[in-house]
Amino acid sequence: MQLSPKAVARFLGTRLLHSAIVLLGVMIVVFALIQLVPGDPVRLALGTRYTQESYDALRAASGLDRPLWEQFFTYIGSAVTGDLGVSFRSGQPVTALLLERLPATLSLAGVGLLIGLLIAVPAGIWAALREGRIADGIVRITSQFGVSIPDFWMGMLLILVFATGLGWLPSSGYIPFSESPGGWLRQVTLPAVTVGTVAGAILTRYVRAATLDVANMGYVRTAKSKGLAPSTVTIRHIMRNALVPVLTIAGIQLATILSGVIVVEVVFAWPGLGRLVFDSVASRDYPMIQGAVLLIAVMFLLVNLIVDVLYALVDPRIRLA
């Protein structure tokens, strides 16, 4: 297949349009969150701090005193320009608070995904090449263990052993990478291993399945019968093709990782988005919850868009589908 610029442009166009539609849907859901709160969200958020003045001020600031359709278009309009309103709790802009927390979450999710791939790629390929043998069985059962373990419990067990038990690593806290790379590494290790082990267990199953698909193909048999060394067949013929679908799965898996990160951040007192959502739910800071949910969903859509586009550029078969 020759890469025709027209076909690529058409694929990109369809894919972008699809993302835009889903993004609009995501924004409608996020907008609806605050409308669905039974009772008056501003009244609920103020709680014991309620005075008529503070109530009126907050209600006007959040635009909740205007008609619904106007609120909706204002919300979409401001969200597109990066204005997500003000926090009920602190009165500060939601966007600024979110961006402040973003690096901590991204570094945790990133290192976690890296650890996951470092576990999954070798384990998955190794198991697939020994399909049906004991090694394969061990990898499959172990990955099932990893899938079934609650991430926050895994984090607690790691703290129990490596922090309170052996005293090797800190049990909580965060140091930005820019301040001290060494300190950051010490802090990120336990939470990232927690996130990575669970992600690795899930990814292992996909790598194994993808490798099996490729390993049973005719061209691999041909390569083998030509007398190529098994390592050459594995690396040049199997891995190159098996890792393409794994890229997509890793993108989708990001959603699971972000889910896990919320709880793991609470366990390790990691000042990221998850911790922020947790605190905001507790204090009924609805604009903050809306903002965080929107940001995480947008990140997920963006990563999947990038992965899909890369995937299509690498593998022409996808564009034909």
């Binding site: 995501v26 419990w153 607690m156 067990l157 129990l160 049990s171 947790f278 969903a297």
Partner: protein
Amino acid sequence: MTDPTPTPENPTATDVEPEADGRVAAWKLLAGNPVTLFSVIVLVIILVVALLAPWLAPYGVNQTDVTRALQSPSAEHWMGTDDLGRDIFSRIIVASGTSLQIALVSVIFAFVIGVPIGIISGYLGGITDTVLMRCVDVMFAFPVLLLALAIVAILSPGQLTTMIAIGVVFTPIFARVARASTLSVRVEPFVQVSKTMGTPGWWILLRHILPNITGPVVVQTSLSLAFAILSEAALSFLGLGIQPPNPSWGGMLFDAQGFMSQAWWMSVFPGAAIFVTVLAFNLLGDGLRDVLDPKQRTLAEARRKA
């Protein structure tokens, strides 16, 4: 956590063939797999313990005794006591009932709403399919726990909210699985023939489509039960699921965080309870997949005959 994205293709059409052609009954294949059999036995034990918990529990779940606080496991307190002197074993077995109940109700909720959406979407195709599937795509853009958290933030925390939250976030998963299977069954000759004979659409859905997509949907149900238990535990851990003083596995783990260095048993046993239950559902799901997915089934049958 369990994979939330279902596989797109699961042609189950071959499953309709009668038993007379020498195929092995599904339950026989299931029982022949030691891992599946083991997970079923574990699940039955958990279910029995959950049902009989009020009679089996040696102590009351909220029977506090400060003089016996933070005791390590002993003959008297098999899994030790917590910071208020409550018996951890009693709390764990009573909490198992709540966990299973929430998981069952929320998965049934997701099933009852998601499967019809998926079947209708896949069968009708066209604009209905496009609209419904874009809605499903939107739901999939939110991480499961995040969406559940947002739902809990809207309604106030509690057992019913937890069920609704988990049920809602699982609905699109069932819709996708049901749609994918419907798409593959829809083009089968027996459906096409039935259509040309003028059979009404609802009858085709009920009589021809539904029975032929049960395989993937049953597998998804088992895996979802595992994931629902994990989600409930996570929500309760965050203080947004089951509310104290009612015992829950997640809530017990949250309490344990303050006593990591003094009382390891507070964090080890409730987590182990979640782990064993979730593992059993996952292994059962895997076993069911081996039998109900025709591609895998041929393998399972071959192994059995060999």
